[in-house]
Amino acid sequence: MTLLWGFLWGVAAVATIAGGAILGVWWERKVSARIQMRYGPQQIGPFGSLQMIADVPKLLFKEDIVPALADKAIFKYAPLFVFGPVAVSMVVIPFTAGWAPLNTSVGVLFFLAVPSIEVIAILLSAWASHNTLSTLGGLRATAQMISYEVPRSLAVLAIVLLAGSLRPLDVVAAWRWWWMPLTFVAFVIYFVASIAEMNRGPFDIPEAESELVAGYFADYSGMRWASFMMAEYGAMIAASLFGAALFFGGGWPFGGALGVITLIVKAILIMTAIMWVKWTFPRLRQDQLMSFCWKALTPLALVQLVVVGVVLVWL
């Protein structure tokens, strides 16, 4: 029975991410078009919303090309492990007060730890392509993802310290509105580091199309390429939901089903902000990226942690 439930949750997570990616691509096209003073998709369906239904079969039926010199087994199955961890990390998100698909005492750590399997899959897929540009992209992606994990974890730690628990449901239950101004810096750090973790602009140096073609997934096509795409959108959805739950109190001020809707609305706002950032800022340079992480974000996160610690003692 438990196995069946686990299986059903797995299917639900993958379906959520696939559906979310389809909606997310449409929404991103609209948002980017607004920012660039265009209309975006408008021909197919109301507001061009059916465009993605034409795009999905295209991806499914594209030829699946495997380079002759590639390490075939790793090349073929690494994309699965890029997408899988993102889907798995969704299960600990507290959707409403008192309910998360998987209620575990180490949920917050789980959410931060599981996507780190993705890093190794990205490195392996980059390596298996047997291509200099892919390898470079993979190295850049890894350096970036490992580095930004530090300020991201420290930012989340501020909330964990306030709540006194690693269980996401406890965090949501303990959440008070005055945490928002207190941990605002932590949220900004979480927001920036999350964008860097999902390799999105302006931190898309690993896949910089003007210099590395598409970086670590340059040689992928069809559905295997789509799994990298879905991993990116999945990470965006997961990070937004988790950020909304931890930093903005989940379904606060509502509970039950209304709480779930509130959480999703908050997450959509965060996702829109992520897109806004991508289409507004130019791409960073590698050294700027690294020094920003280690010389700005990490010390700032530590200062935030100290501030929270002082407030906790003073309370």
Binding site: T2, L3, D71, I74, T104, S105, V106, L109, F110, L112, A113, V114, S116, I117, V119, I120, L123, L124, W127, A128, H130, N131, T132, S134, T135, G138, L139, T142, A143, I146, E149, L166
Partner: protein
């Protein structure tokens, strides 16, 4: 009950299969995949015994950190256009003897010392923290200092070649 056995079997299979791949393959990247499977299997084993915090930390530190560093090192040292990196070994029998000897030593020493020393059900994060930051604080901090010294030493060794 059967589900628990299934989970245990899966973790054991991951560990044994991963270890076999690590020991037998010559392709360095396949070896890394095997090591990853082994480390995930260890995490599964922790989970099976109810140590959720340890399992998560295992994935965070070993799969997400140490394993990535290994791949990173291979990729940086080896050029992408030079064919696949292979592990070459000329002392198979000697290496196997050393491996068996070391693992036998570890098993024997662990069997003696584990009994009374391990904390009683350190299943939650807080009990581990109390153990590490309470009674074993000095050892814990010394370990940190040792790692720092190792890092500085590596920087000193690598340093001059990298100077611009």
């Amino acid at each position: 009950m059967t589900l628990e056995i299934l989970a245990f079997a899966l973790a054991a299979l991951l560990m044994l299969g991963g270890a076999a791949v690590v020991a037998l393959t010559k392709d360095l990247m396949r070896l890394v995949v095997g090591l990853g499977a082994f480390l995930l299997g260890v995490a599964g084993m922790f989970l099976y015994y109810g140590h959720a915090f340890l399992a998560t930390a295992q994935v965070f530190v070993y799969v997400g950190g140490v394993l990535v560093l290994v791949v990173f090192a291979v990729m940086v040292v080896h050029r992408a256009n030079g064919g696949r990196p292979l592990v070459t070994s000329q002392h198979d029998i000697g290496a196997a003897a050393v491996a068996f000897g070391v693992s036998g030593m570890l098993v024997m020493s662990l069997r003696e010392s584990v009994g009374g020393w391990l904390p009683e059900s350190g299943t939650s994060g807080s009990s581990i923290a109390q153990e590490l930051l309470g009674g074993h604080l000095v050892a814990f901090e010394l370990l940190g200092v040792l790692l720092l010294v190792a890092l500085v030493a590596v920087l000193l060794i690598v340093g001059p070649g990298e100077r611009r």
